[in-house]
Amino acid sequence: MQWACISFPQLALDDVLRRRADHASPLVLFEGAGSRARVMAANAAARHHGLHIGQSLTAARALCPRVNAVEHDAAAVERCHDFLAAWAYRYSSQVCRTFPQTLLLEVRASFRLFGGWAALQAELRRDLAALGFEHRIGAAPNPHAALVLASARGGCAVEDEAHLLDALGMLPVERGGLDATCAESLQRMGLRRLHQLFALPRAELGKRIGAQALLHLDRLRGAATNALAFYQPPDVFDQRIELPLNTASHESLLFPLRRLLRDFSAFLAGRDGGAQRFTLAFEHERGAPTEISVGLLAPERDPELLFAIARARLDRTRLRESVCGLRLVSDELPAFTPTRRDLFDTRPQQAVTWEALRERLRARLGEHAVHGLALHPDHRPERAWRVQGIDPPRGSGSSRGVHPARARDTNGPVSFPQRPTWLLARPIPLRERVARILAGPERIESGWWDGADMRRDYYVIETASHQRAWAFRPAGDDGPFMLQGWFA
C-alpha cells in the first residue's frame, strides 16, 4: 500500500476565493458575531496589511478599511471537502475524507494507470491548481505517516518502509501529529526529534505519554493499523454558489458559472460519468429561481463544452431580477462511454451505437415507438406481417414472426406474387378514379378456420393520377374497390 495525503491548509479561504474573480483585494474570514468576531483566515493581500488569524474583526477593519469580511461557513467547507473527495475518486478507489482539511488516497494501485508517483503527483497538483486549492502532498506506506509527512514536509514522498523511519525520525516532535500537551512535555524532556522517541523503550515511553500517543507512534511506523472509512461518491451533483454581489448582468454570471461547471466536470470525471441533463437555477432575492434545464444529445463532461452550451442557453434567457445565487443540480449521470470504434472505422466522433440511439428514441417517444417488422406466413395481407419487438437487429429470438433469412433458406429464392410496398393497416374505399386495371384479379381466400374468413379478388390498379394501387373487391362482387396498398 502506498498512501498519498493531500492536505488543504486554507480550505475555507480557498472555498471563498475560488468563487471570486478578484484575488488581489484583501479578504478575511471571520467567526463569531458582533464584537466577538475574530479573523480565522486571511488571504495574502490581507496579511500584507498586517491582518492575522485570531485578530478581532474590529481591529482588522481598523487596519485595513477596505477589507472584505466573509463569515466562515462550516457547512460550505464540508461541501467543498466532499467535492474534493469526489474529485480524488478519479485517481483512487480508496479515498478517505475522515480527517479535517485532508484527503487520503491509496495510490499504489493507480501507479500503473498514471505512470508512477511522479506523474500522478504532477497530475494531482495540476488539477488542484486549476480548481484553485492550496495544497500539500505527501506520500508514505501507511496513511498516518502520509498525514504527518504532508503537513510537516510538503512534497515528501517515502516509497518503502526502510526509508520511512529515517524520514519520520527527522521530524521535530511537535510536527509528529501528537496532541499539543504531549508534544510540549516531550519537548521539556529534551526530546526534539521523533527518532529520539522511536529509540526509547516502548513500555516506559507508554507510561509517560499515555496509550493514545503510543498507539499513534505505532501507527506512524506501520506497526499498528487503523480501519479507515472510505468515501462513496454520491449519485447526484448539487452545488451552489452564493454570489458576493447581486447582479443582473449575464457577463458577471459567467465567472461563477464557469467555476461551477468546472467542478461539475471534475466530479463527473471522478465517477467516470457524463451528464445527460442538468439544471441551472439562478436564485433571486424574491420569488422562485429562474431555471435553465440543459439537455444533451450524449453524455458529456468536457468543461468547455458544458460551459459553451450553458452560456448559449443563458444568453437566450431573460433574468427577471438580479441574481444572488447560482445552483447546479444533476441527477441524470449516465456512464460516460468513449465510443468503441473499429480501427478503420471512419464514422464520426459523436457516433453512438444503435442500441444507445434506440434507447434515446424510446425514452422520448414511448416504449413501443421503435420496432422492426417480420414476415408472417399468411396470405391475408392484414396478417402477413408481425411487429418485431425490440430485439436487437441480429436476434430473431422468441418472436413468432418468420425470420426473413430463414424464410429465404427454406423456400429458396423468394418469389412472391406482386405485392405493394405500402400496406394500409385497414382497407379504405378507393377514392381515386380508376384509369385501368393492370393485373388481377388474384383471389385470396383464407382464414375460414380462425374466424377471420376472407374471400377477396385483388387488382393492381392505375388511377387517373397515375398512382398504382392495390385494391380488392369481395369475391364475385362488381362493386367499388377497397384500397389495401400502394405500389410506391
Partner: protein, 204 residues
C-alpha cells in the same frame, strides 16, 4: 488552383460551370440513367436527398429500394421515421431489403423531426427516411447538418408542392407521372440536367 478553392471543389460545395464533376463518395441509385446525371454517380452519402412526389404510389419507394437494399447489406439499421403506411414485408424482401435492418419509429409530426435529427447525427444508421409534412428551411438545415456530422444518408419524401421552397438538401428529385420521369431539380456538385430522366416503369 487556389488552396482555398481546391477543398471546396473536392467536397462538391463549389463547382465550375463546365467540366467534369469530381468523383465523390456516392451510393448508386440502381437506375443507370439517373446515376449518369448525378454528379457523384448516385445518392450522396452524408447528405440529405429530397424526393418530391405528387401523390402516393407513383414510385417514390421504387426509386429508393435499390439503394436501401444495398444499404441493408451494410448491417446497420435503416430507419423509417413515422412512415405514412406500413411497409409490406413481402414486397420489401422481394426488393432485396434485409428486414432485420429495417426499423420503424412511430412519432408525431414534431417528434419525427427530432427523431430524424437524432438518427442522422448518431451515425448508427445506414439511412434515415422521413416524411416531413411541414418543415421550414431552418429545420431542413438542421437535418442537413445532422446528416453531415453523422455521415448518414437521409431521404426526405415530401409532396411536390414544396418544390419552390428553398432547401438545403444536396439532391432534389421530382417524380413526374405522365410520362414517368425523374426531374433532377438540384444536385450539389454540378448543374442539374435540363432533361428529365426516364423512370423505368414497374416490371409487371
Amino acid at each position: 488552383m487556389s488552396a482555398i478553392l481546391q477543398p471546396l471543389i473536392e467536397t462538391g460545395r463549389l463547382w465550375r460551370g463546365q467540366g467534369t464533376a469530381p468523383l465523390r463518395d456516392a451510393l448508386p441509385t440502381g437506375f443507370d440513367a439517373l446515376d449518369r446525371v448525378l454528379p457523384g454517380g448516385g445518392w450522396p452519402r452524408a447528405a440529405l436527398s429530397e424526393i418530391l412526389f405528387p401523390a402516393d404510389g407513383v414510385g417514390e419507394l421504387r426509386l429508393l429500394l435499390p439503394a436501401l437494399a444495398m444499404l441493408s447489406r451494410e448491417a446497420h439499421p435503416i430507419v423509417l421515421i413515422a412512415p405514412p403506411y406500413l411497409p409490406f414485408p413481402a414486397a420489401w424482401i422481394a426488393a432485396g431489403v434485409d428486414l432485420r435492418y429495417l426499423q420503424i419509429v412511430q412519432a408525431d409530426e414534431h417528434d419525427a423531426l427530432w427523431a430524424a435529427e437524432q438518427c442522422l447525427r448518431s451515425a448508427a444508421c445506414a439511412a434515415v427516411l422521413c416524411w416531413p409534412r411541414q418543415a421550414d428551411t431552418a429545420t431542413l438545415r438542421r437535418l442537413q447538418l445532422a446528416a453531415e456530422t453523422g455521415q448518414t444518408i437521409g431521404f426526405l419524401l415530401r409532396p411536390a408542392q414544396v418544390a419552390a421552397q428553398a432547401s438545403m438538401a444536396a439532391v432534389r428529385i421530382g417524380i413526374e407521372t405522365a410520362p414517368p420521369r425523374l426531374r433532377v431539380l438540384k444536385c450539389r456538385g454540378g448543374n442539374p440536367p435540363a432533361q428529365a430522366v426516364a423512370f423505368v416503369a414497374l416490371a409487371a
